[in-house]
């Protein structure tokens, strides 16, 4: 059993569902009309492109091509993390790439090689969507962690310097902000796990059920992906912060002026 197809005319009907909210938002004077249209068009175009390249990747199923696609996803994620966290890419690009790539590849490899064990370990049907889901969630955690850490350091500059003058090493002095940042990075994933299935059916599970999978199989995959998302988010957030602390300060343990790009 497969999911029912949505024919093009009914796809057009689908866009009607946003018409009423769009009109209502227009009446509130929020001036979001243009942003909404652009957002919906971008989303549609991006997903259409995803459809095209996934179809190609699945057809060719070439390990090098699959690897190249994972690399592209990691570079784009790295760029997005630093832009959204407001950090200078010149300093952090390599460190964030290493932290995120290491954590995501570890979790994906663990899931594929030890748990799911597909006949081809590089099978695009498994590798690309699983790595993509893990990476997407890991990205959110890293943005929150980095943003929270550097924001706290800048806002509490005097406190940080006081710790240094009281004999703290750089690591001892940043530890309170580090702990808070890791907590903030992990919290959404933790909260998501705690309410999963009660508040909403998760996307992957819904997709599998619509695709014809047995609910139990869908549940097992959902548990697998949640555990891997949690592992990669924790690993990447901690590793990213640790690596960044070795980059963001000058030789006198003072935060470099230009590490944070926005005020």
């Amino acid at each position: 059993m497969e999911a029912l197809d949505i024919a093009p005319p009914r796809m057009a009907v689908l866009y009607g569902v946003v018409l009423l909210p769009w009109l209502l938002l227009g009446l509130t004077g929020l001036r979001l009309s243009r942003a909404i249209v652009v957002g919906i068009l971008r989303m549609s175009l991006q997903l259409a492109l995803v459809g095209v390249y996934l179809k190609t990747l699945f057809t060719l199923n070439n390990p090098w091509l699959n690897g190249l696609w994972i690399l592209v996803m990691l570079v784009v994620a790295d760029w997005a993390i630093l832009t959204r966290a407001g950090l200078n890419r010149r300093y952090f690009f390599a460190a964030t790439f290493a932290a995120v790539a290491g954590s995501v590849l570890f979790s994906t490899a663990y899931l594929l090689l030890l748990v799911i064990r597909p006949p081809l370990y590089y099978d695009a049907r498994y590798l690309i969507p699983l790595a993509g889901m893990i990476l997407g969630n890991c990205l959110q955690g890293n943005v929150i962690g980095l943003e929270r850490f550097y924001d706290a350091l800048r806002k509490n500059e005097n406190e940080y310097l006081t710790y240094l003058l009281l004999g703290a090493t750089r690591w001892e002095a940043v530890l309170p902000y580090f702990r808070e940042a890791v907590k903030a990075a992990i919290n959404p994933t933790l909260a998501g796990m705690a309410t999963l299935g009660l508040v909403s059916l998760p996307g992957m599970m819904t997709g599998q059920i619509l695709g014809g999978s047995e609910p139990w199989l869908a549940v097992k995959y959902q548990i697998a992906i949640m555990l891997c998302i949690f592992a990669s988010t924790v690993l990447a957030s901690i590793l990213n912060l640790v690596l960044s602390v070795n980059i963001a300060f000058n030789e006198f343990d003072v935060l470099k002026e230009d590490v944070v790009e926005r005020g």
Binding site: N158, E159, T162, L164, L165, T169
Partner: protein, 236 residues
């Protein structure tokens, strides 16, 4: 010198007449803006120096530059004849206490604030006894009752004296004081003035208080980041 802390180490094997701090044509710029320009002075061990000048004249910058918080655009700073490289900055920070107008206590209660540095590896084996805590507080005219008070409930002047007490417990010998007497009542101010009169302490300060200025050995006037006058009290 009170018995509350370890004995300051400033004079260990060092002639009293030698320069402890030497600024040699120091210039500092922050985000392209000149904050200090061509500043030169010498402070010997045990001396008290005070910087005076209008707001924005660079007084606090002098203190913070010595702590390695601003990179030098030109000139050099020597501490015990050593250029201010990272190991020397660590040495300065080990000896120095910076007390500002609103010091950060970094803890919930006053007791935790006093004990804060002893959580760090470098001081972990030197935790002070209750007697030493009380001794340090009383030396600055603070009642032992304050130990269990929440830091958010203590006044600005009390915070300053708690921060000084904490520095005493660490055996600090170099005090960088930024308008430290401004929030103190007459009695507390006298206690602080008397304490820093001890020749074991070297003091670089920013102050306008005439009592404090009168007690300092060197008075340095800053204007627009430049030293306009250096006056030694007691000299002609």
């Amino acid at each position: 010198m009170p018995s509350v802390g370890s004995r300051p180490r400033e004079f260990d094997g060092r002639p009293a007449e030698a320069a402890l701090i030497r600024f040699d044509r120091v210039s500092v710029s922050v985000r392209g803006k000149s904050i200090l320009a061509d500043v030169s002075f010498v402070v010997k061990a045990g001396e008290k120096a005070v910087f005076r000048g209008k707001s924005g004249s660079g007084k606090s910058t002098v203190l913070k530059t010595l702590l390695g918080l601003y990179p030098l655009a030109a000139g050099r700073i020597l501490f015990e004849d050593e250029s201010l490289d990272p190991p020397t900055v660590q040495s300065v920070r080990r000896r120095a206490a910076y007390i500002g107008q609103e010091p950060v206590l970094g803890a919930e209660t006053v007791r935790e604030a006093l004990m804060l540095p002893f959580r760090f590896k470098t001081h972990r084996d030197n935790k002070p006894s209750e007697c030493r805590l009380i001794d340090a507080l009383e030396h600055l005219h603070l009642s032992p009752d304050i130990l269990d008070r929440e830091c958010r409930l203590v006044s600005g002047g009390e915070k300053q004296r708690i921060a000084i007490a904490r520095a005493l417990l660490l055996g600090k010998s170099l005090y960088l004081l930024d308008e430290v007497t401004s929030a103190l009542d007459a009695e507390s101010k006298q206690a602080v003035l008397d304490m820093f009169a001890d020749p074991a302490f070297t003091v670089l300060s920013v102050a306008h208080d005439p009592d404090w200025v009168a007690r300092c050995d060197i008075v340095l006037e800053l204007e627009g980041g430049r030293l306009t006058r250096i006056h030694r009290n007691g000299s002609a």
